[in-house]
Symmetry: C2
Subunit: 202 residues, 2 copies
Protein backbone atom coordinates (compact mmCIF):
# COMPACT_ATOMS: atom_id res chain seq x y z
CA UNK A 1 0.00 0.00 0.00
CA UNK A 2 1.35 3.47 -0.86
CA UNK A 3 2.13 5.80 2.06
CA UNK A 4 -0.52 8.28 1.02
CA UNK A 5 -3.17 5.60 0.58
CA UNK A 6 -2.32 4.31 4.05
CA UNK A 7 -2.43 7.85 5.49
CA UNK A 8 -5.93 8.32 4.08
CA UNK A 9 -7.19 5.02 5.54
CA UNK A 10 -5.57 5.71 8.92
CA UNK A 11 -7.26 9.12 8.88
CA UNK A 12 -10.61 7.55 7.93
CA UNK A 13 -10.42 5.06 10.84
CA UNK A 14 -9.59 7.94 13.21
CA UNK A 15 -12.41 10.19 11.99
CA UNK A 16 -14.98 7.33 12.01
CA UNK A 17 -13.99 6.34 15.56
CA UNK A 18 -14.25 9.95 16.73
CA UNK A 19 -17.28 11.24 14.83
CA UNK A 20 -19.06 8.19 13.46
CA UNK A 21 -19.76 7.41 9.82
CA UNK A 22 -22.29 10.26 9.73
CA UNK A 23 -19.49 12.64 10.75
CA UNK A 24 -17.07 11.57 8.00
CA UNK A 25 -16.77 14.41 5.51
CA UNK A 26 -14.28 13.98 2.66
CA UNK A 27 -12.96 17.52 3.21
CA UNK A 28 -12.28 16.76 6.91
CA UNK A 29 -10.63 13.49 5.95
CA UNK A 30 -8.38 15.31 3.48
CA UNK A 31 -7.31 17.72 6.24
CA UNK A 32 -6.80 14.83 8.69
CA UNK A 33 -4.64 12.87 6.22
CA UNK A 34 -2.83 15.91 4.83
CA UNK A 35 -3.86 15.27 1.22
CA UNK A 36 -6.22 16.84 -1.32
CA UNK A 37 -9.83 15.70 -1.71
CA UNK A 38 -8.97 14.98 -5.36
CA UNK A 39 -6.38 12.42 -4.29
CA UNK A 40 -8.95 10.75 -2.04
CA UNK A 41 -11.43 10.48 -4.91
CA UNK A 42 -8.65 9.23 -7.19
CA UNK A 43 -7.84 6.37 -4.79
CA UNK A 44 -11.33 5.48 -3.53
CA UNK A 45 -13.78 6.83 -6.13
CA UNK A 46 -16.52 7.92 -3.71
CA UNK A 47 -17.60 7.95 -0.06
CA UNK A 48 -18.75 4.33 -0.19
CA UNK A 49 -15.35 3.37 -1.62
CA UNK A 50 -13.66 5.10 1.33
CA UNK A 51 -15.89 3.25 3.81
CA UNK A 52 -15.30 -0.15 2.14
CA UNK A 53 -11.55 0.27 2.14
CA UNK A 54 -11.56 1.66 5.69
CA UNK A 55 -13.46 -1.47 6.83
CA UNK A 56 -10.87 -3.76 5.20
CA UNK A 57 -8.04 -1.67 6.67
CA UNK A 58 -9.54 -1.87 10.19
CA UNK A 59 -10.09 -5.61 9.84
CA UNK A 60 -6.45 -6.19 8.73
CA UNK A 61 -5.21 -4.06 11.60
CA UNK A 62 -7.19 -6.17 14.11
CA UNK A 63 -5.68 -9.34 12.60
CA UNK A 64 -2.28 -7.81 13.21
CA UNK A 65 -2.68 -6.84 16.86
CA UNK A 66 -4.48 -10.05 17.82
CA UNK A 67 -1.80 -12.14 16.13
CA UNK A 68 -4.40 -13.68 13.80
CA UNK A 69 -2.22 -12.58 10.89
CA UNK A 70 0.61 -14.74 12.25
CA UNK A 71 2.60 -11.80 13.64
CA UNK A 72 3.47 -11.45 17.30
CA UNK A 73 4.34 -7.78 17.67
CA UNK A 74 4.30 -6.18 21.11
CA UNK A 75 1.40 -8.30 22.34
CA UNK A 76 1.18 -8.60 26.14
CA UNK A 77 0.82 -12.39 26.04
CA UNK A 78 3.57 -14.75 24.89
CA UNK A 79 2.67 -16.58 21.69
CA UNK A 80 1.62 -20.16 22.54
CA UNK A 81 2.89 -23.07 20.46
CA UNK A 82 0.89 -23.51 17.25
CA UNK A 83 0.00 -27.01 18.45
CA UNK A 84 -2.16 -25.67 21.32
CA UNK A 85 -5.40 -24.54 19.66
CA UNK A 86 -7.12 -23.56 22.92
CA UNK A 87 -4.34 -21.18 23.91
CA UNK A 88 -4.15 -19.79 20.38
CA UNK A 89 -7.89 -19.11 20.55
CA UNK A 90 -7.60 -17.40 23.95
CA UNK A 91 -4.80 -15.29 22.59
CA UNK A 92 -6.65 -14.15 19.48
CA UNK A 93 -9.82 -13.27 21.42
CA UNK A 94 -8.22 -11.75 24.53
CA UNK A 95 -5.93 -9.50 22.49
CA UNK A 96 -9.05 -7.57 21.42
CA UNK A 97 -9.00 -6.21 24.99
CA UNK A 98 -5.82 -4.14 25.14
CA UNK A 99 -5.88 -0.66 26.56
CA UNK A 100 -3.92 0.83 23.66
CA UNK A 101 -5.04 3.80 21.56
CA UNK A 102 -4.77 1.78 18.32
CA UNK A 103 -6.95 -1.05 19.65
CA UNK A 104 -9.54 1.31 21.16
CA UNK A 105 -9.72 3.35 17.96
CA UNK A 106 -9.96 0.28 15.78
CA UNK A 107 -12.76 -1.33 17.82
CA UNK A 108 -14.65 1.96 18.12
CA UNK A 109 -14.51 2.50 14.36
CA UNK A 110 -15.67 -1.07 13.77
CA UNK A 111 -18.68 -0.49 16.06
CA UNK A 112 -19.52 2.73 14.21
CA UNK A 113 -19.40 0.98 10.82
CA UNK A 114 -21.71 -1.73 12.14
CA UNK A 115 -24.11 0.81 13.67
CA UNK A 116 -24.14 2.72 10.35
CA UNK A 117 -25.36 -0.49 8.68
CA UNK A 118 -28.60 -0.34 10.69
CA UNK A 119 -29.75 2.48 8.40
CA UNK A 120 -27.63 2.13 5.29
CA UNK A 121 -26.94 -1.33 3.83
CA UNK A 122 -23.98 -0.21 1.67
CA UNK A 123 -21.45 -2.13 3.83
CA UNK A 124 -23.66 -5.07 4.77
CA UNK A 125 -22.04 -7.60 2.43
CA UNK A 126 -18.52 -6.67 3.54
CA UNK A 127 -19.47 -6.81 7.23
CA UNK A 128 -21.21 -10.15 6.75
CA UNK A 129 -18.14 -11.57 4.97
CA UNK A 130 -15.75 -10.21 7.61
CA UNK A 131 -17.92 -11.60 10.42
CA UNK A 132 -18.12 -15.00 8.73
CA UNK A 133 -14.35 -15.16 8.19
CA UNK A 134 -13.76 -14.30 11.84
CA UNK A 135 -16.27 -16.91 13.11
CA UNK A 136 -14.70 -19.50 10.80
CA UNK A 137 -11.24 -18.82 12.19
CA UNK A 138 -12.61 -19.26 15.74
CA UNK A 139 -14.52 -22.40 14.68
CA UNK A 140 -11.35 -23.93 13.18
CA UNK A 141 -9.50 -23.49 16.50
CA UNK A 142 -12.49 -24.85 18.48
CA UNK A 143 -12.65 -27.88 16.17
CA UNK A 144 -8.93 -28.48 16.64
CA UNK A 145 -9.39 -28.26 20.45
CA UNK A 146 -12.49 -30.50 20.40
CA UNK A 147 -12.03 -32.89 17.45
CA UNK A 148 -15.03 -35.08 18.31
CA UNK A 149 -17.58 -32.25 18.54
CA UNK A 150 -20.30 -31.99 15.83
CA UNK A 151 -19.69 -29.24 13.26
CA UNK A 152 -22.98 -27.44 13.92
CA UNK A 153 -22.21 -27.15 17.64
CA UNK A 154 -18.73 -25.82 16.86
CA UNK A 155 -20.15 -23.21 14.47
CA UNK A 156 -22.74 -22.03 17.02
CA UNK A 157 -20.07 -21.79 19.74
CA UNK A 158 -17.87 -19.68 17.44
CA UNK A 159 -20.78 -17.35 16.64
CA UNK A 160 -21.56 -16.94 20.34
CA UNK A 161 -17.93 -16.26 21.26
CA UNK A 162 -17.47 -13.58 18.59
CA UNK A 163 -20.82 -11.93 19.43
CA UNK A 164 -19.96 -11.99 23.14
CA UNK A 165 -16.63 -10.39 22.34
CA UNK A 166 -18.38 -7.54 20.51
CA UNK A 167 -20.79 -7.05 23.41
CA UNK A 168 -18.00 -7.01 26.01
CA UNK A 169 -15.84 -4.80 23.82
CA UNK A 170 -18.47 -2.11 23.49
CA UNK A 171 -19.01 -2.11 27.28
CA UNK A 172 -15.27 -1.84 27.84
CA UNK A 173 -14.85 0.97 25.29
CA UNK A 174 -17.70 2.89 26.94
CA UNK A 175 -16.02 2.66 30.34
CA UNK A 176 -18.73 0.39 31.74
CA UNK A 177 -16.45 -2.64 32.25
CA UNK A 178 -12.76 -2.69 33.32
CA UNK A 179 -10.49 -4.31 30.74
CA UNK A 180 -9.34 -7.06 33.13
CA UNK A 181 -12.90 -8.03 33.96
CA UNK A 182 -13.81 -8.12 30.25
CA UNK A 183 -10.89 -10.50 29.69
CA UNK A 184 -11.93 -12.71 32.64
CA UNK A 185 -15.48 -13.01 31.31
CA UNK A 186 -14.17 -13.81 27.82
CA UNK A 187 -11.73 -16.42 29.13
CA UNK A 188 -14.56 -17.96 31.16
CA UNK A 189 -16.78 -18.19 28.09
CA UNK A 190 -14.03 -19.90 26.06
CA UNK A 191 -13.56 -22.47 28.84
CA UNK A 192 -17.30 -23.14 29.14
CA UNK A 193 -17.82 -23.51 25.37
CA UNK A 194 -14.81 -25.84 25.05
CA UNK A 195 -15.92 -27.86 28.09
CA UNK A 196 -19.31 -28.36 26.56
CA UNK A 197 -17.98 -29.18 23.06
CA UNK A 198 -15.73 -31.84 24.62
CA UNK A 199 -18.79 -33.42 26.26
CA UNK A 200 -20.45 -33.83 22.83
CA UNK A 201 -19.60 -36.42 20.22
CA UNK A 202 -20.52 -36.72 16.57
CA UNK B 1 -46.00 11.01 33.14
CA UNK B 2 -47.78 13.89 31.35
CA UNK B 3 -48.66 13.36 27.68
CA UNK B 4 -46.32 16.11 26.56
CA UNK B 5 -43.44 14.83 28.64
CA UNK B 6 -43.99 11.37 27.15
CA UNK B 7 -44.19 12.82 23.63
CA UNK B 8 -40.82 14.55 24.13
CA UNK B 9 -39.16 11.34 25.39
CA UNK B 10 -40.68 9.26 22.59
CA UNK B 11 -39.38 11.83 20.13
CA UNK B 12 -35.93 11.76 21.76
CA UNK B 13 -35.73 7.95 21.49
CA UNK B 14 -36.77 8.17 17.81
CA UNK B 15 -34.24 10.90 16.95
CA UNK B 16 -31.38 9.19 18.85
CA UNK B 17 -32.10 5.86 17.11
CA UNK B 18 -32.17 7.56 13.70
CA UNK B 19 -29.40 10.13 13.99
CA UNK B 20 -27.37 9.18 17.05
CA UNK B 21 -26.76 11.30 20.12
CA UNK B 22 -24.56 13.63 18.06
CA UNK B 23 -27.54 14.25 15.77
CA UNK B 24 -29.96 15.20 18.57
CA UNK B 25 -30.68 18.90 18.32
CA UNK B 26 -33.22 20.35 20.73
CA UNK B 27 -34.89 22.29 17.90
CA UNK B 28 -35.33 19.09 15.87
CA UNK B 29 -36.65 17.30 18.94
CA UNK B 30 -39.17 20.08 19.49
CA UNK B 31 -40.39 19.71 15.89
CA UNK B 32 -40.48 15.89 16.24
CA UNK B 33 -42.52 16.04 19.46
CA UNK B 34 -44.70 18.97 18.36
CA UNK B 35 -43.76 21.17 21.32
CA UNK B 36 -41.70 24.33 21.87
CA UNK B 37 -38.02 24.20 22.79
CA UNK B 38 -38.95 26.20 25.92
CA UNK B 39 -41.20 23.38 27.10
CA UNK B 40 -38.36 20.88 26.58
CA UNK B 41 -36.01 23.00 28.69
CA UNK B 42 -38.75 23.45 31.29
CA UNK B 43 -39.12 19.67 31.66
CA UNK B 44 -35.50 18.53 31.25
CA UNK B 45 -33.32 21.57 32.02
CA UNK B 46 -30.61 20.91 29.42
CA UNK B 47 -29.40 18.44 26.78
CA UNK B 48 -27.87 16.14 29.40
CA UNK B 49 -31.21 16.12 31.22
CA UNK B 50 -32.94 15.06 28.01
CA UNK B 51 -30.42 12.25 27.47
CA UNK B 52 -30.72 11.01 31.08
CA UNK B 53 -34.49 10.90 30.96
CA UNK B 54 -34.45 9.34 27.48
CA UNK B 55 -32.19 6.56 28.80
CA UNK B 56 -34.59 5.83 31.69
CA UNK B 57 -37.56 5.96 29.31
CA UNK B 58 -35.88 3.48 26.90
CA UNK B 59 -34.96 1.19 29.77
CA UNK B 60 -38.56 1.17 31.12
CA UNK B 61 -39.90 0.49 27.65
CA UNK B 62 -37.58 -2.54 27.30
CA UNK B 63 -38.82 -3.84 30.68
CA UNK B 64 -42.34 -3.58 29.31
CA UNK B 65 -41.89 -5.44 26.03
CA UNK B 66 -39.71 -8.17 27.57
CA UNK B 67 -42.23 -8.72 30.35
CA UNK B 68 -39.59 -7.87 32.96
CA UNK B 69 -42.02 -5.27 34.32
CA UNK B 70 -44.54 -8.05 34.98
CA UNK B 71 -46.78 -7.16 31.99
CA UNK B 72 -47.54 -9.59 29.23
CA UNK B 73 -48.76 -7.38 26.39
CA UNK B 74 -48.71 -8.74 22.85
CA UNK B 75 -45.57 -10.81 23.40
CA UNK B 76 -45.11 -13.67 20.91
CA UNK B 77 -44.36 -16.22 23.66
CA UNK B 78 -46.89 -17.35 26.24
CA UNK B 79 -45.93 -16.26 29.76
CA UNK B 80 -44.47 -19.23 31.65
CA UNK B 81 -45.54 -19.92 35.24
CA UNK B 82 -43.67 -17.75 37.72
CA UNK B 83 -42.34 -20.92 39.35
CA UNK B 84 -40.19 -21.79 36.30
CA UNK B 85 -37.16 -19.46 36.53
CA UNK B 86 -35.40 -20.89 33.47
CA UNK B 87 -38.38 -20.25 31.21
CA UNK B 88 -38.87 -16.79 32.71
CA UNK B 89 -35.23 -16.04 31.95
CA UNK B 90 -35.54 -17.30 28.36
CA UNK B 91 -38.61 -15.17 27.94
CA UNK B 92 -37.03 -11.98 29.23
CA UNK B 93 -33.91 -12.40 27.11
CA UNK B 94 -35.51 -13.72 23.90
CA UNK B 95 -38.12 -10.95 23.83
CA UNK B 96 -35.28 -8.51 23.09
CA UNK B 97 -35.30 -10.10 19.61
CA UNK B 98 -38.66 -9.10 18.17
CA UNK B 99 -38.92 -7.68 14.69
CA UNK B 100 -41.16 -4.80 15.76
CA UNK B 101 -40.47 -1.11 15.09
CA UNK B 102 -40.65 -0.24 18.80
CA UNK B 103 -38.13 -2.93 19.79
CA UNK B 104 -35.74 -2.09 16.94
CA UNK B 105 -35.92 1.63 17.71
CA UNK B 106 -35.45 1.07 21.43
CA UNK B 107 -32.41 -1.21 21.01
CA UNK B 108 -30.87 1.06 18.38
CA UNK B 109 -31.23 4.10 20.64
CA UNK B 110 -29.72 2.14 23.56
CA UNK B 111 -26.70 1.25 21.40
CA UNK B 112 -26.29 4.90 20.37
CA UNK B 113 -26.37 6.07 24.00
CA UNK B 114 -23.73 3.49 24.90
CA UNK B 115 -21.55 4.44 21.91
CA UNK B 116 -21.87 8.12 22.89
CA UNK B 117 -20.40 7.20 26.28
CA UNK B 118 -17.10 6.22 24.62
CA UNK B 119 -16.36 9.93 24.19
CA UNK B 120 -18.57 11.65 26.71
CA UNK B 121 -18.96 10.23 30.23
CA UNK B 122 -22.11 12.22 31.07
CA UNK B 123 -24.32 9.09 31.03
CA UNK B 124 -21.77 6.61 32.36
CA UNK B 125 -23.22 6.34 35.88
CA UNK B 126 -26.77 5.83 34.58
CA UNK B 127 -25.63 3.20 32.04
CA UNK B 128 -23.58 1.41 34.69
CA UNK B 129 -26.56 1.36 37.06
CA UNK B 130 -28.96 0.18 34.35
CA UNK B 131 -26.53 -2.57 33.27
CA UNK B 132 -26.04 -3.70 36.87
CA UNK B 133 -29.80 -3.83 37.53
CA UNK B 134 -30.31 -5.89 34.38
CA UNK B 135 -27.48 -8.33 35.23
CA UNK B 136 -28.87 -8.65 38.76
CA UNK B 137 -32.31 -9.53 37.46
CA UNK B 138 -30.75 -12.22 35.22
CA UNK B 139 -28.56 -13.45 38.11
CA UNK B 140 -31.63 -13.80 40.38
CA UNK B 141 -33.35 -16.04 37.83
CA UNK B 142 -30.16 -18.07 37.28
CA UNK B 143 -29.78 -18.52 41.04
CA UNK B 144 -33.40 -19.66 41.30
CA UNK B 145 -32.78 -22.16 38.46
CA UNK B 146 -29.48 -23.38 39.95
CA UNK B 147 -29.83 -22.99 43.73
CA UNK B 148 -26.56 -24.80 44.55
CA UNK B 149 -24.31 -22.72 42.27
CA UNK B 150 -21.76 -20.33 43.85
CA UNK B 151 -22.77 -16.66 43.74
CA UNK B 152 -19.66 -15.51 41.85
CA UNK B 153 -20.29 -18.05 39.07
CA UNK B 154 -23.93 -16.93 38.83
CA UNK B 155 -22.90 -13.26 38.59
CA UNK B 156 -20.34 -13.98 35.84
CA UNK B 157 -22.89 -16.04 33.89
CA UNK B 158 -25.39 -13.17 34.09
CA UNK B 159 -22.80 -10.67 32.87
CA UNK B 160 -21.90 -12.93 29.94
CA UNK B 161 -25.53 -13.50 28.98
CA UNK B 162 -26.39 -9.79 28.97
CA UNK B 163 -23.20 -8.88 27.05
CA UNK B 164 -23.89 -11.65 24.52
CA UNK B 165 -27.40 -10.32 24.11
CA UNK B 166 -26.05 -6.85 23.29
CA UNK B 167 -23.57 -8.32 20.79
CA UNK B 168 -26.23 -10.44 19.06
CA UNK B 169 -28.71 -7.57 19.13
CA UNK B 170 -26.40 -5.18 17.33
CA UNK B 171 -25.71 -7.83 14.65
CA UNK B 172 -29.42 -8.43 14.23
CA UNK B 173 -30.25 -4.70 14.05
CA UNK B 174 -27.53 -4.24 11.39
CA UNK B 175 -29.04 -6.99 9.24
CA UNK B 176 -26.03 -9.28 9.76
CA UNK B 177 -27.95 -11.99 11.65
CA UNK B 178 -31.56 -13.18 11.08
CA UNK B 179 -33.77 -12.72 14.15
CA UNK B 180 -34.52 -16.45 14.47
CA UNK B 181 -30.84 -17.33 14.43
CA UNK B 182 -30.08 -14.67 17.06
CA UNK B 183 -32.77 -16.24 19.27
CA UNK B 184 -31.36 -19.76 18.73
CA UNK B 185 -27.87 -18.64 19.73
CA UNK B 186 -29.24 -16.85 22.80
CA UNK B 187 -31.34 -19.86 23.84
CA UNK B 188 -28.27 -22.08 23.38
CA UNK B 189 -26.16 -19.83 25.61
CA UNK B 190 -28.81 -19.85 28.36
CA UNK B 191 -28.88 -23.67 28.27
CA UNK B 192 -25.08 -23.95 28.36
CA UNK B 193 -24.70 -21.47 31.25
CA UNK B 194 -27.46 -23.18 33.26
CA UNK B 195 -26.03 -26.64 32.52
CA UNK B 196 -22.66 -25.52 33.80
CA UNK B 197 -24.05 -23.75 36.90
CA UNK B 198 -25.93 -26.94 37.79
CA UNK B 199 -22.65 -28.90 37.63
CA UNK B 200 -21.10 -26.57 40.26
CA UNK B 201 -21.81 -26.61 43.96
CA UNK B 202 -21.00 -24.12 46.68
Amino acid sequence: MSDRRRAILEGAARVIARRGVRGLRVSDLAAEAGVSTALIYYHFKDRTGILRHALAFISDRADRYTGAAGEVGAAPFAAPPAADPRRLLERILLLEFQDLPEVRENSTAWGELRAHTIFDPELRDELTAAGAAWAEEVADLLAAACPAAPGAAVTAAAERLTALLEGLSSRWLSGLLPVGHARDLMRGAIGIEIGRLRSLTT
